[in-house]
């Protein structure tokens, strides 16, 4: 037993970079995978802010695999007893690591700065383990967005953005009739799951979403509403072009941009693609929430690991306060295209879609219609999410019936629990 553990430690140490020691006002090492364009710039804002307080910032970007590579590195470092100060880690993943007993609480900072009052309660709960904050959110991404090309809609005679899935189907049929691809979609499992969860929200509302995709209630999973949601998903398979398999999401966004396709259903990171191409919201592209009057929440956060030594702990506390400061939340989210996780930050410099997002967020909190995203690892552990994604993508790429899909899904979820 011990030999095995030691063996693992040795191998883990060999693969990690040694720790660095320096700095007067605390040292932080931040492990993340924000390495591309706008994301790298956004994390650069945090670095600058931290260094402005005389801290020492050790950057550990680990690119690749949408964070899989970084998680592997993290695992090795935690086992070796040398975790980074803060890690870009979100959703139930935070709880998984917390149960391993390897996180530090930053509750002192959270209490003195009153995080509870400024964060949406759904999000605050995800950041806490046993009532104490162990992570800090940097942004809120909305998943249930529908992006459209106004010229394409006009050509097909669609006058307004659909507000129900029936309206969407009608608009899609019109687009199809004039030879425009109704739905720009990339056939990657997570994209299939993104469309699926937005459909569930639209068909069954926030209640069904919460019961089926968050609480994993067996009755809700096998309800008629879920069958109806799969029926709608089957319909949408028909609105996708033949060539969708394996396409990246940003290429699908490009199709909408060029007018080859009418709609795309994708989170608000798609907005970054439009803006980077110099398109103006409301003129060159339209944004509207998918049907359902809800808000599917996705949020990036930094999770604080159990570092030792006064300097490191001091740095960690400073970093936690900094991440939640209104100034940082504003500059970071302007660079990343999301909206601040704090609901009290001024949104003067943000665009129309972001304002809409913020407004709907407040309304959703009010109406209890704010739900964490299943497809983007906010709602359920990765193991169960994997079963959802497998089933949904298999359904989307086969001729499985909706009834069969619902039953296999319920069985798969029960198995993974």
């Amino acid at each position: 037993m011990n030999i095995l553990k030691k063996a693992l430690m040795v191998s883990a140490t060999l693969t990690t970079i040694g720790p660095g020691f320096a700095g007067a006002e605390g040292t932080v090492e931040v492990l993340h995978w924000w390495t591309s364009g706008g994301e790298a710039k956004a994390v650069g804002e945090l670095k600058d802010a931290f260094e402005a307080q005389d801290g020492t910032w050790i950057d550990s970007p680990i690119a690749g695999g949408g964070g899989d590579a970084a998680m592997t590195a993290l695992r090795a470092r935690v086992i070796a007893g040398n975790p980074p100060t803060a890690v870009q880690l979100k959703g139930p993943g935070i709880q998984e690591w917390a149960r391993e007993g390897v996180l530090n609480s930053v509750d002192a900072v959270a209490q003195s700065e009153n995080w509870d009052a400024v964060l949406p309660p759904v999000l605050a709960d995800i950041m806490k383990y046993e009532g104490a904050y162990v992570a800090a959110p940097v942004n809120i991404h909305r998943v249930d967005w529908m992006w459209a090309n106004p010229k394409a809609l006009e050509a097909a005679g669609v006058t307004q953005m659909p507000t129900t899935w029936d309206e969407f189907n009608a608009a899609a049929d019109k687009l199809m009739a004039v030879g425009i691809v109704p739905l720009a979609h990339g056939g990657q499992p997570w994209q299939d799951a993104t469309v699926f969860e937005d459909v569930v929200l639209g068909i069954g509302g926030a209640d069904l979403f919460r019961k089926a995709l968050v609480e994993l209630d067996q009755d809700a999973l096998q309800s008629d509403m879920m069958i109806a949601a799969f029926d709608q998903l089957r319909k949408m398979r028909g609105y996708v072009d033949d060539n969708f398999s394996g396409r990246d999401w940003n290429l699908a966004t490009g199709m909408v941009m060029r007018g080859e396709a009418g709609f795309q259903i994708m989170g608000d990171w798609a907005k970054g693609e439009f803006l980077a191409a110099g398109k103006v919201p409301g003129v060159d592209f339209l944004c509207a929430p998918t049907p359902g009057n809800g808000f599917v929440l996705n949020s990036d956060s930094f999770t604080f690991f159990q570092v030792e030594g006064e300097e490191n702990i001091a740095g960690q506390q400073v970093l936690a306060g900094l991440i939640m400061s209104p100034e940082f939340q504003e500059t970071f989210n302007l660079a990343k295209g999301s909206i601040p996780a704090r609901t009290d930050v001024s949104l003067e410099s943000f665009d129309a879609c972001a304002l809409r997002s913020h407004e709907d967020l407040l309304a959703a909190i009010e109406n209890d219609a704010l739900v964490p995203s299943m497809a983007h690892e906010m709602a359920i552990p990765r193991s169960i999410r994997g079963e959802f994604i497998d089933l949904v993508t298999n359904f989307f790429n086969s001729d499985m019936s909706s009834e069969e899909a619902v039953q296999s899904l319920a069985a798969a979820v029960a198995r993974a629990q």
Partner: protein
């Protein structure tokens, strides 16, 4: 002088005896630890409830139960057998065929040999990416033929769940059959001229000579080629990731991609370890009897 030589000779012999063992032992110890040690570790992990982190409390067979109840595993196993059989079979056939053709004293053999062998110099990632474009219905062959006037032509295997696995076979065969050819060509060249002459005197035609005389002699070459191709097939990961990403859906999942996704994307180390153990068992079940029969055959 005599006593001295008497004492140094055994010492020299001793050194001769022990030096190779001494030199090899660190490597032996390292591979014992890092290969077999970690195999044992993985086997143990497969019997625990490990999730995001290794967990050492023994849990019995629950991870295997979960593994065998996952539909994706059956897709992965089915794909591996289809892929391995077709990949090894077709690569062997093309390899032998090209080698026999090249053996006919072709004029610019060196150039042709290099051309056929060249795909082996590429990584599977490059092969996969290139074939992804060639096979993409909107960009590659289908688009090309349609533009040439055949509007009804359809070749959408890459995006069709039922046929996507065959696109991986195509790309893998393209990459590896030249290598099989090189191995067989070397084998053909090592066949003793006397035997060929004897066959000619006995009146065997060239077809008969190859099938009844040359190929049976090349049995050891078959062995090494099959083993090389089989291990490429079983560990096929990069080609799948580059060509189809395991899709459409998970139609082209392989045991290696299955294991990767459970270990690194889903934080299920236990299930991943169980699937790794199953892979190891499969390989042992196939390769060991084959090696045993082949090696025993050559000794006789």
């Amino acid at each position: 002088m005599a006593p001295r030589t008497h004492s140094t000779v055994p010492l020299g012999q001793k050194i001769e005896l022990w030096l190779p063992r001494f030199v090899v032992s660190p490597l032996f110890a390292l591979s014992l630890f890092f290969v077999y040690g970690f195999i044992l570790w993985t086997v143990y992990i497969s019997f625990t409830k490990s999730g995001v982190m290794p967990n050492y409390s023994f849990e019995g067979l629950s991870q295997y139960e979960r593994l065998w109840a996952t539909p994706r595993l059956y897709v992965a196993l089915g794909n591996m057998f289809v892929f391995s059989a077709l990949f090894i079979g077709i690569s062997l056939a093309i390899g032998i065929f090209l080698a026999i053709l090249l053996d006919q004293r072709v004029r610019i053999e060196g150039v042709i040999r290099t051309i056929y062998l060249y795909p082996m110099a590429l990584s599977f990632i490059v092969t996969g990416t290139v074939w992804k474009w060639i096979l993409n219905p909107g960009l590659g062959i289908q688009n090309f033929v349609r533009k040439a006037g055949f509007e009804e032509f359809t070749f959408d295997w890459l995006v069709n769940s039922d046929y996507a696995i065959y696109t991986i076979v195509i790309a893998a065969v393209w990459q590896s059959s030249g290598y099989a050819m090189a191995l067989f060509l070397a084998g053909l060249r090592s066949v003793d001229d006397e035997i060929l002459k004897a066959a000619a005197i006995d009146g065997a035609g060239s077809f008969r000579t190859y099938f009844s005389v040359v190929l049976p002699i090349m049995r050891p070459v078959f062995l090494s080629t099959v083993i090389i191709l089989a291990h490429l097939a079983i560990k096929s990961f990069d080609l799948v990731i580059a060509l189809t990403g395991g899709g459409p859906g998970y139609a082209t999942a392989m045991p290696a991609t299955f294991m990767y996704s459970f270990a690194f994307q889903r934080s299920e180390l236990g299930v991943a370890a169980a699937s790794a153990v199953m892979m190891l068992a499969t390989v042992i079940a196939i390769v060991v009897p084959y090696l045993y029969s082949e090696l025993r055959g050559t000794k006789q």
